[in-house]
Symmetry: D2
Subunit: 359 residues, 4 copies
Amino acid sequence: MSGNTFGHIFRVTTAGESHGPANIAIVDGVPPGLSLSEDDLQPDLDRRRPGQSKIVTQRSEADTAEILSGVFEGRTTGTPIAILIRNDDVRSKDYSEIREKYRPGHADFTFDRKFGFRDHRGGGRSSARETVVRVAAGAIAKKLLQERFGTRIVGWVAQVGDEVASVPDPTSVTLDAVEATPVRCPDPDAAARMIVLIEQVRAARDSIGGIAQVCATGVSAGLGEPVFDKLKADLAKAMLSLPAVLGFEYGAGFGVATARGSENNDAFVPDGDQIRTRTNRHGGMLGGISSGMPITFRCAVKPTSSLPQPQDTVTRSGEPTTIVTSGRHDPCLLPRFIPMAEAMTALVLADHALRQAAR
Amino acid sequence: MSGNTFGHIFRVTTAGESHGPANIAIVDGVPPGLSLSEDDLQPDLDRRRPGQSKIVTQRSEADTAEILSGVFEGRTTGTPIAILIRNDDVRSKDYSEIREKYRPGHADFTFDRKFGFRDHRGGGRSSARETVVRVAAGAIAKKLLQERFGTRIVGWVAQVGDEVASVPDPTSVTLDAVEATPVRCPDPDAAARMIVLIEQVRAARDSIGGIAQVCATGVSAGLGEPVFDKLKADLAKAMLSLPAVLGFEYGAGFGVATARGSENNDAFVPDGDQIRTRTNRHGGMLGGISSGMPITFRCAVKPTSSLPQPQDTVTRSGEPTTIVTSGRHDPCLLPRFIPMAEAMTALVLADHALRQAAR
Amino acid sequence: MSGNTFGHIFRVTTAGESHGPANIAIVDGVPPGLSLSEDDLQPDLDRRRPGQSKIVTQRSEADTAEILSGVFEGRTTGTPIAILIRNDDVRSKDYSEIREKYRPGHADFTFDRKFGFRDHRGGGRSSARETVVRVAAGAIAKKLLQERFGTRIVGWVAQVGDEVASVPDPTSVTLDAVEATPVRCPDPDAAARMIVLIEQVRAARDSIGGIAQVCATGVSAGLGEPVFDKLKADLAKAMLSLPAVLGFEYGAGFGVATARGSENNDAFVPDGDQIRTRTNRHGGMLGGISSGMPITFRCAVKPTSSLPQPQDTVTRSGEPTTIVTSGRHDPCLLPRFIPMAEAMTALVLADHALRQAAR
Amino acid sequence: MSGNTFGHIFRVTTAGESHGPANIAIVDGVPPGLSLSEDDLQPDLDRRRPGQSKIVTQRSEADTAEILSGVFEGRTTGTPIAILIRNDDVRSKDYSEIREKYRPGHADFTFDRKFGFRDHRGGGRSSARETVVRVAAGAIAKKLLQERFGTRIVGWVAQVGDEVASVPDPTSVTLDAVEATPVRCPDPDAAARMIVLIEQVRAARDSIGGIAQVCATGVSAGLGEPVFDKLKADLAKAMLSLPAVLGFEYGAGFGVATARGSENNDAFVPDGDQIRTRTNRHGGMLGGISSGMPITFRCAVKPTSSLPQPQDTVTRSGEPTTIVTSGRHDPCLLPRFIPMAEAMTALVLADHALRQAAR
């Protein structure tokens, strides 16, 4: 009802505000016997963490996860896994102005309209801070997918402003290639141009949007439900549930608008004793159910709304004013968006893999 | 679990196959006291119905809904409303070939991988036939939204192939303007070109994709939940749950990729004793919660997969073959997609309106 | 939210009023490949049907189910199964008085307080008529349990008024023994006394309560979830969701109040290469999870509230009056309660069996 | 699916084992603006806490709750409230024997059958330790019910072994009267006898069962849903979800078995401009919906399964053995059961109050 739970069998419930004591996730439905410790969560938490490089915000949180339940002698027990991540570096003084002024592009105004009352510090529950526990939960899902189902998920930055990466074969992108540059773009030339652009934008006290791409390989055919819970529908929801995402497309995406059926359809062909399609304009999903081909999709991410330049807005009582958001913010959200997108992809795929296994 | 239910408070559960006896929806959570009869469902069912014009399929179904429960003396009672729509014009003989061959672009292959067994006739449960009861349920949601919340939803065809409609003000599009042409495009010039294109495509035994747009006005601020059940997330899921949709974007959509924050943010301005934004690049949703501005989004719809020309594929046992889909199929799905998109939009908004009212 | 859906994987959603056009169930989550037709539903529908014998109400409904979806060529497809049961013998004239007067023991008053408006005819949705589709859904669950899991469920009348059945071994009760008498008590002597008592009560224009017992055998160990969804909790909910039930107890039940731990605990003992308990005071559930021992429980069922004698009550506007319920009502609900109790038991066990199989 | 979540609008998700680092609850759906701090949780945590008196176990846990989210400046924000309770006094050494032997009456055996693997220390997730966060969540529900709905919940020990309390008017029982004795029985004479009995049982290295009663007053008419989510069904589930409960009855309970309808029905009578019933054999619920009369029900609680005397059992590999449970255990569970029963009652009533308010 309040939308703090995601998934059916692999099921995550979260709580926490940007500047409260902690963020918490309860991850339910993890099968028993999976080896698991905090060490499995840290790499993705580190990738998401602020302050990793000069192109991202310098807020320095340790983002150390503590597993409070559901693991015994190094293995999951099948009972819910609670993850606690304390909020260390909470400078509430930075945020006193936004108590009274609505930041453009943020949820301050809509939270007030919804709840009549909000924890304004750093955006409270509307802050991207809440994704920290999604990333931790996603790390568990990734491990389950890899060990039990052979599924591997990689995301990367495909575009920043007009700088577009060239990635001829999405299935060949490796985590190492993505992590090779702070902008998380596996095309080194494009990455270099993106970094220059981001620095220019930062110098101009502005921000810039982009596009993220995700590819999941080793997804067996048959995942997704026929009607409302199509796999594409749940992936779309997962991505749009992330802050700053304004668009989702999979496979040929918006390109289908100008395509003819004869060129858009992917022919089925034999592949040894298996069946696959010759091309993958369907992005690995047909009728909303995985086909066994790689799942590929893209997300449009808006430029950071918080800007260190004056923007027109109003106060809570409706008086015109301006606001300069002086806090520590990324000029481009894309690099830190990648682990979030991967995590949400993992939550969807783990849930659907278990739902299908239940058949 | 099986994904045949949609929504939390306003909640729809459906059943039915393309060529089974009937399609059924149970619509739960409709507040008591709403005046309702079958006459309220018929207009949208007629808009969705095959055979309305020469540019859509000629399958002639009456698509007459019977309300079996939840209405007493012309008013809803607050108990669940069951809707029954019999499948009249079921010509199973048309579909015998697809028992053994996988149609490219369809769910035949993935259903077999999922269930090991399927009702192949007309695509069974994967057929767009199942949307008939979504449209009926959506008509109830629309009525509730209009009468209790003052919300109005209109969808139209924004693009077919390269033919793009010019709609300077989405909020001014009326149902009458949409229904003025069989292609459901409110720009008469573009509509004429689209119709020509669709006829050309049909003559070429091919099909063509396009883009649908939806605008909802009169949506009060505060709808949507902060984290997973963001309004944008649920709209994205709703749209991607429809057959043939490969992309979703709201507000500035994929255009944000090349935008700077300073140009993308919508400034808040006073509006009498209310607050609104000067522009609406945020498509009526901030932090995933409605802002009171019009909600606008677009969906990419692929060209019809069924084609009356030979396509390469394989049999169930993996032997290469070709298939010609000789059934009655629209060369362009967009016109009949509009009532489906409106219906799913209505289901999402009705559910979130009631969820927020519950606060 | 509105409580018209039951179960998680094996999931039933119902709709329908006593005197509306029909009652409907959508049964979701039935695995593909189960052989199924309307013939599988009829026996239990007949057991529940009014008018079977002189000790039950004479309302004559055919109660013929039509399966509208989810079955193809005699087997389930894995898609939702819709069941339609028309209400044939609807004599609305019998119920005009209760539009204005609240029947003692019925839900007329509470429905008005809840919805502000109700379909008063025959109790509308509060009537036990709605259980007809629960029984149909339960028949599918029973078949699944028997064929896939080897589970068998039998219920019987254990007590009517002061007449108590002697059933030394609950696991030996057969359906034939239960069906041998119209009162559904497998102890023939007690059955005879119960019938005499029911006839006496009817002659006195009164009604009488009783106790039903259910035993499920062949339930493998491990069903039920550790915390909120304990198997005992879901069985209790299932039973209390049936009309007229005021109590539930399993195993030693309320008898534990006066027991010492040393006599109440069931010792574990080896049984070949298996483990079982020496006694079964725990009714087949420990920690809320099935132990592999037979599951046994009992329900207290109140005397029929509708009485053909004057009862004090008030009108909708609060004026004191009396009411004589002249309709066709059973003087004792127990015989027709048995198939309802079995059906709800089957829904719970099928759901938990599939939930556990999902592990 | 895994049953670690309870409720629909007011919704609690829990995690934690007896001897893990902590127990955690995420309480979702609490309306914004309720004043709340840890001080509101402590009284009931103290009532549930071990070691309060010599008749309960001496395990000394501080059971101090920390609120990690959802509260800002002393008021709830409408976002989820995470509660953390560390497990302080964890003596794992006490529990090494039960790794290999199945304790009679406990869930050791069924957990192994379910998960194939378990955290054996102190029962792990099957321990009543998990109720500590239910009690904390229940304290929030109680506060909401009292402040927003005027509802008050009191539970007490009605029976221990053969010692039965005399409570002529359940609605007059006060928290003070309940807390006046360590056995939580408001009848002082019976309380004295119960204490003597419990001491005798303890001296005999045995345990004893009993009956708890709960009364909720100030519950407005209209709570509960007509079919599966009847209020009585959800209360039954809530109570049976608690450890050691084998029976539930409300109102006249099992006494209806021998009652005639003419004596069992509660006549409606005017009460000023309201309507109530003359008697309350229906325990405040008709058709599963609250009538506005006090809600009363009783639970049968078994004697503690852990006994400091030898009991027959088997090892994990099925070898016969005996076990003496030497840990710290209450000889009678009833006194500490009361706050648990009240908490679960509060969760059900808060959820249904909000569900009805959503109408």
